[in-house]
Symmetry: C2
Subunit: 87 residues, 2 copies
Amino acid sequence: MNLMSFFNRRTSAPVARERLQILLAHERGIVGGKSDLLAQLREEILAVVGKHLSIERDNVQVKMNRGADLSTLEIEVELPGPEVVRV
Amino acid sequence: MNLMSFFNRRTSAPVARERLQILLAHERGIVGGKSDLLAQLREEILAVVGKHLSIERDNVQVKMNRGADLSTLEIEVELPGPEVVRV
């Protein structure tokens, strides 16, 4: 299954809130590349996103997963929609 | 299926070359957020990655997909392994 279709399938219905998901996967190959590449990229990518979206502790989730060959980093920023006023 | 498992399943065998894949998905929600957020992030994220990996025209692929609710950006950087010398 194509990675794009994964995103499309998951979000066919329009969601109430604005959301940005970022996923990084680093395969080091048999030669072995930088083992801490994703840790370095994490702070810099959060800084880039922070210039465009308001990032606070309670609206961002960061998950890192370090494997021998494959490391992954998942960043999810969810922006609150307008408050729904009940009358 | 969890997004992480998608990556793990795709790359169970160690690959010869080092590879970095980045996927961004922006859901604008019913309120509608910035429509060109991914276009803005693309250049800045490529600049961040370029500080850590050598990015040239022939080893990076960028695919953008703009939808009404969901826009996605896929960046793939593949680094050549050492040349295999046949004797």
